[in-house]
């Protein structure tokens, strides 16, 4: 055994390391394994019981024409070409069109796989409120169960409850990674030729978010430290009508989902603390059925002007309905959820009926939860990052969506999972295992151990609170230059000072040490949040999910470009890149924010 093998508690070799086991990672692993690749999955939790996929609503997208070939009702008016056009137009042209083409092309393949693996399907429906049905509905829990079953059936090797700490690079390409078993505290040196990152978003940068606890931007943080390019980090989607209160249901999007489903969508009103149906003011024509962005911004403006609830939200209300009518709604919901769909998820079987019932006597406080991260590790249509041997799939990647995620993220992860699972094994065949840089391993281990050695400094809980203060007040839904500037300065100071002074004093045990794991995660979350704030400050316009009150126009003349960031010699290097165009040429002109997203009727004036 060489010196380098002795540095970690364990050493494992594989050809292809896949980080993440769910919608993207699990799918990629199955594809790569079926091509004969030597694969190892490392996942932060247990397969089928971690990450974002389990919590998805869920809908998958396939264009109406191709859907018919899969046995769904479909829609003859639709076509792959039309789907492509919608994605680029509604994404407000910042999309990488080559990636959009692949999304449309591979969407039916991803769907077919899941059907073959036995995922239960509810039906074919219009979920994203498109003109035509394009969605295949199911449940996130069925989705991850189908993937888990297949991964187990194929006996794909897997390390569960294990998080990746950092990527190992030799001469500019992947040589391996260092991982940590969260349960035992053991470090693992993984030698590999290639890595697929499928680590999801960085929701925990916001105290109010809709994601699971493990979404801490680990993949994006590691890729950035390794020198990979990131793209569109300013694009963060917030979900309106997310439960703010009580604590038990905080972060649930059950009421948002309900507000999208016929017939419930007809009866839902959003009101402020005076009981006023405020959407009448912001978008008198579309009201609560306006776009996600407009409803979110309107809600935020109400809160900002002192018309919100005690916990920072506005209210979901059915008070205009008679109690008997509400009972009827509960009956319809129960019948649909329990009898027709036979859904078993708590949010649907229990929470929704409970909340509707509660609406007989009170309103429910809801708000904008950080929901989906549109940017991430820059990849091309083949899921290749800018580092040879490093691939990224799903929410941790960026480039597909442009300025609005208009279609299914579940389809995105399946599509990119398949592509990564096809492309990475080919790469692996071409290269030799690179030598591990011993010093790099040493540095990584030193870095993660330092907080355990310190007896004073700032604790991970204190630093998390500090970060949430900044993200909540200065990098939220409605952005403003002066606040973003403050946020970038404060976050940079935190990264340079506090991160270097993190200390863990409650227990020095390495087993299930939540404080220690948080300390490691904080470096990743703070990287994501800082780069997002910085990117937001640079983009001097408003576009889709990105809204700046000091630059309210969508400026095609100056801002049809993406912001690309990477670390170079320890410094942040920023450049602009034109979106990749294949079929749809980029428009010109300057539109109001509302015109650009097609809700010209809405007014978002500040009081």
């Amino acid at each position: 055994m060489g010196e380098v093998e002795k540095l970690c508690d364990k050493v494992i070799s594989t050809d292809l390391l896949i980080v993440g086991s769910e919608g993207a990672g699990g799918h990629a692993a199955i594809k790569a394994h079926s091509q004969g690749a030597d694969v190892l999955i490392v996942t932060k939790g247990k397969i089928g019981q971690c990450g974002a996929s389990q919590m998805a609503g869920v809908d998958f997208n396939v264009d109406g024409k191709t859907a018919k070939t899969l046995g769904f009702t479909g829609d003859d008016r639709d076509s792959p070409e039309r789907f492509f056009e919608d994605l680029v137009r509604e994404g407000l042209y910042l999309n990488n069109q080559k990636m959009v083409e692949k999304y449309v092309e591979y969407a039916p393949k991803a769907m077919k796989d899941l059907m073959d693996w036995g995922m239960r399907i509810y039906g074919y429906d219009s979920v994203h409120a498109e003109e035509m049905a394009r969605g295949i509905t199911s449940a996130g829990t069925y989705w991850v169960a189908a993937i888990r079953k297949k991964v187990k059936e194929l006996k794909i090797p897997m390390l569960e409850d294990t998080m990746l700490i950092d990527l190992l690079i030799r001469e500019g390409r992947i040589a391996g990674a260092v991982a940590l078993n969260i349960k035992s505290g053991e470090t693992i040196l993984i030698k590999c030729k290639a890595i697929i990152l499928a680590t999801g978003g960085w929701h925990r940068a916001y105290s109010f978010n809709t994601g699971s606890y493990d979404l801490t931007g680990d993949g994006i943080g590691m890729a950035y430290r390794a020198g990979a390019e990131l793209i569109s980090m300013e694009m963060v989607q917030f979900c309106p009508i997310t439960m703010v209160w009580p604590p038990k249901d905080r972060g649930s999007i059950a009421l948002y989902v309900l507000s999208c489903i016929d017939p419930f969508d007809k009866y839902i009103q959003l009101v402020n603390n005076k009981g006023e149906r405020f959407m009448e003011k912001y978008d008198p024509i579309n009201l609560e059925k306006s776009t996600k962005e407009i409803v979110s911004i309107a809600s935020e403006l109400e809160v900002e002007n002192g018309r919100g609830g005690l916990h920072g939200g506005i209210f979901f209300s059915l008070k205009h309905l008679r109690p008997k009518f509400i009972d009827a709604i509960i009956r319809i919901a129960n019948n649909r959820i329990k009898n027709e769909l036979k859904d078993t998820r708590y949010e649907f079987t229990t929470l929704i009926p409970e909340l509707i019932k509660k609406c007989k006597t009170e309103n429910i406080e809801v708000g904008n939860g950080a929901h989906y991260m549109g940017g991430g590790i820059k990849v091309n249509e083949n899921t290749e990052t800018t580092i040879p041997g490093l691939f990224a799939a799903g929410e941790c990647s960026g480039g597909l969506w442009g300025a609005v995620r208009v279609a299914s993220a579940c389809t995105e992860v399946g599509v990119q999972g398949i592509i990564a699972g096809e492309v990475a094994p080919k790469y692996v065949k071409k290269v030799e295992q690179a030598e591990i840089n011993e010093n790099q391993v040493r540095e990584i281990l030193d870095r993660i151990n330092k907080p355990l050695m310190r007896d004073e400094g700032i604790t991970p809980n204190e630093l998390t609170k500090k970060m949430h203060e900044i993200s909540g007040k200065k990098v939220g839904l409605i952005k403003e230059g002066s606040l973003l500037k403050e946020a970038t300065e404060e976050l940079l100071e935190i990264i340079n000072d506090d991160l270097e002074n993190l200390c863990i004093t409650s227990t020095k045990s390495k087993e299930l040490n939540d404080e220690w794991i948080k300390a490691i995660e904080l470096e990743n979350i703070l990287t994501c949040l800082y780069l997002s704030a910085k990117s937001s400050l640079i983009r001097e316009e408003s576009r889709g999910e990105f809204y700046r009150r000091d630059y309210t126009h969508t400026d095609h003349d100056n801002w049809l470009k993406t912001i690309v960031m990477k670390q170079k010699n320890g410094e942040l290097d920023i450049k602009f890149e034109n979106p990749v165009v294949t079929k749809i040429s980029l428009p010109k002109g300057k539109l109001t924010y509302q015109e650009a997203i097609g809700v010209a009727t809405a007014s978002l004036k500040r009081e």
């Binding site: 009580p246 972060g251 863990i504």
Partner: protein, 105 residues
């Protein structure tokens, strides 16, 4: 703001690496609005004792991994509402990794 009620949460503690035998710690948790067992444990970890080990992930009944024993009955920590003083223990006391997290979850 709403009135806060204070409850006592008695937690099973055990670090097999250093403790000879398990013991219990009692924490006071202010209840404000409907809170789950998990909300209480998060409160303790963020405000009282960051070393408390327990499982948390989806917080909304999806992952089905936060099984725990409350007043000697097994339940999901994220779905169980707390109103009165409680005793919280791991699912399998004889298979504890640390505190409230046993090897079987």
């Amino acid at each position: 703001m709403e009135e806060k009620k204070i409850i006592k949460v008695k937690c099973f503690r055990f670090d097999p690496q250093k403790d000879e035998k398990p013991y219990y710690d009692t924490f006071k948790v202010p209840i404000s609005g409907k809170m789950s067992i998990q909300d209480c444990l998060v409160y303790i970890r963020e405000n009282e004792d960051p070393s408390l080990a327990f499982f948390i992930n989806c917080r909304l009944g999806f992952c089905k991994r936060c099984l725990i024993r409350v007043n000697e009955k097994s339940c999901f920590a994220c779905l169980t509402v707390v109103e009165e003083d409680i005793t919280v223990e791991p699912l399998m006391k004889d298979k504890v990794i640390r505190d409230l997290w046993s090897k079987d979850i």
